[in-house]
Amino acid sequence: MARKLLFENINIPGIDTFEVYRKNGGYRAVEKAIKTMSSDDIVEEVKKSGLRGRGGAGFPTGMKWSFLAKPEGKARYLVCNGDESEPGTFKDRYLMTYIPHLLIEGMIVSSYALGANTSYIYLRGEMMPQIRILEKAIAEARNAGFLGKNILGSGYDLELYVQPGGGAYICGEETALIESLEGKRGNPRIKPPFPAISGLYGCPTVVNNVESIAAVVPIINDGGDEYAKVGIGRSTGTKLISASGNLVKPGVYEIELGLSVEDFIYSDEYCGGIANGKKLKAVVPGGSSVPILPANLILKTVNGEKRLMSYESLSDGGFATGSMLGSGGFIAFDEDQCIVRNTWNYSRFYHHESCGQCSPCREGTGWMEKVLHRLEYGHGKLSDLDLLVDVAKKIEGNTICPLGDAAAWPVASAIRHFRDEFEWHVTNPKEAMERNYGLAKYADPLPKLEEV
């Protein structure tokens, strides 16, 4: 069995209550941090752990913390990002539902490390049940003296609040999240200034994903070096993977980074293979924003090496033949799925969720949706494929926030790897309305490099 750092105790009955969580070693990290460590010590441990942000970008958490400005007389804020709107991602909801105190404990330690006296957990508004769960957990922790004034007699004060959003994917982007928390539309801000200098209410602010904050708990308990021993290379620790689509056992799994993709999909410990005895056609390994890969390229890199669940291995080959770990939203497609329809669905999503501030994103996502719609419904032209690639290119890198890129990559990668299927939709519009293109050659062994 693989090592679990976050979910080791998740199956203990009552672990969502303070009492049971505490009995099983909960809040030890708070005691250790507040009683025996300085802020700098904690930041140092997090740096040593090699933890990389679990929200999608994979930026080293310790380094991010060390950028936080500390001007005299100004409040500092920690904001936890529980927006979790990236299609394919549902691990944060799971963590907060079943082991809410892990997040609260992580928030206390992290707030202490950053010198924040008020911290917010921003959850998407649809997570009302999780808001209730967290508010209950906060009340329990406060009753036990782990929150509020003078925590554990240390003189450190912390208030923790849960804030609901209003339904908008863009509020997962950290500056849009801050705008939303200030009671405004979720329009991303132009950077710089970065939140570390000017974030919530113009004060220095750190925004971290739910899972990143939770990972601080084992890092403090066992030490950063211990944490860094788990995983592979610069992909240290464990990662929560949200597995969805056509799998025998979809769900949330905590894996050690470095597990092979093949084991993740096919072994009984994890997803148990493709549902209904079908074959795997494609995978989006890191949430809807990352490039889609056909079965042959997700299982092996072009060099013929086993593809691993790690930041480096999943991006091996760059965008030509690789993808990204992203938020760990692992979406599996069986042989009956239509890539054209799926790509249209994603582009509809991004068009719907664009905040509309920059024209390349606002107009470009609309164009892509329209063109993909006509391809899917049999009115496409072969030139549409190049048109799509062209629009995607014009969005990429030309926008205020990365939603533009997130909209462009799935389209560009689908056409890169599944061009045959798109062309078939154009040349056989009638047939394409009646049946799917199927597996074609997408699971065939890759040609040896020298043959290419």
Binding site: P87, G186, S244, F349
Partner: protein, 174 residues
């Protein structure tokens, strides 16, 4: 059609105002606008939707301009600026859910309720619409019903029928 006047009432009850006050206490002095999204959820839970007069009252309460409230209610998808059925079935329509039959479930709901997306059934009980990924893709297809945002997962046509029947009979009892 359900008869709800577009200029529905509005005097917030003292109990509701007390909840608003509690929300406002979470932010630094002068940053009460941060309470806007949570307060709009409270208003919607109370009235089922958020009318223009209600928005004006919220603006008054928070000491901000009405436009600051309008731009928020219209930006975010969870706020209803028009009445809906008593139960609003919100079905996820995003990619991962579609891999396991979300579109079929939506079609089924449309047929079963006999109204199109966004409309209200003649008895005033139901509306439905497609929404984007609800962070429950592993339990797909899924739908949610506010204001508590209860989730119904791994939907089948049968379980949807059952759900609709249950909601109907519950609301008859109440």
């Amino acid at each position: 059609m359900l008869s709800v006047t577009e200029t529905q009432f509005v005097e917030f009850s003292p109990a509701l105002i007390a909840k608003f006050d509690d929300v406002v206490s979470r932010y630094p002095i002068g940053k009460q606008k941060s309470a806007l999204l949570p307060i709009l959820h409270l208003v919607q839970a109370e009235y089922g939707w958020i009318s223009a007069p209600a928005m004006d009252k919220v603006a008054q309460y928070l000491e901000i301009l009405p436009i600051e409230v309008y731009e928020v209610t219209t930006f975010y998808t969870m706020y209803f600026t028009r009445p809906t059925g008593k139960f609003m079935l919100e079905v996820c329509r995003t990619g991962p859910c579609c891999l396991v039959g979300a579109e079929k479930i939506m079609k089924h709901i449309e047929n079963k309720l006999g109204v199109r997306e966004g409309e209200i059934t003649p008895d005033g009980l139901f509306s439905w619409r497609g929404v984007e990924c609800l962070a429950a893709c592993g339990m797909a297809p899924v739908l949610q019903i506010g204001p508590e945002y209860t989730f119904y997962e791994n939907l089948t046509e049968e379980s949807v029928d059952q759900l609709i029947e249950n909601l109907k009979s519950n609301s008859l009892q109440n």
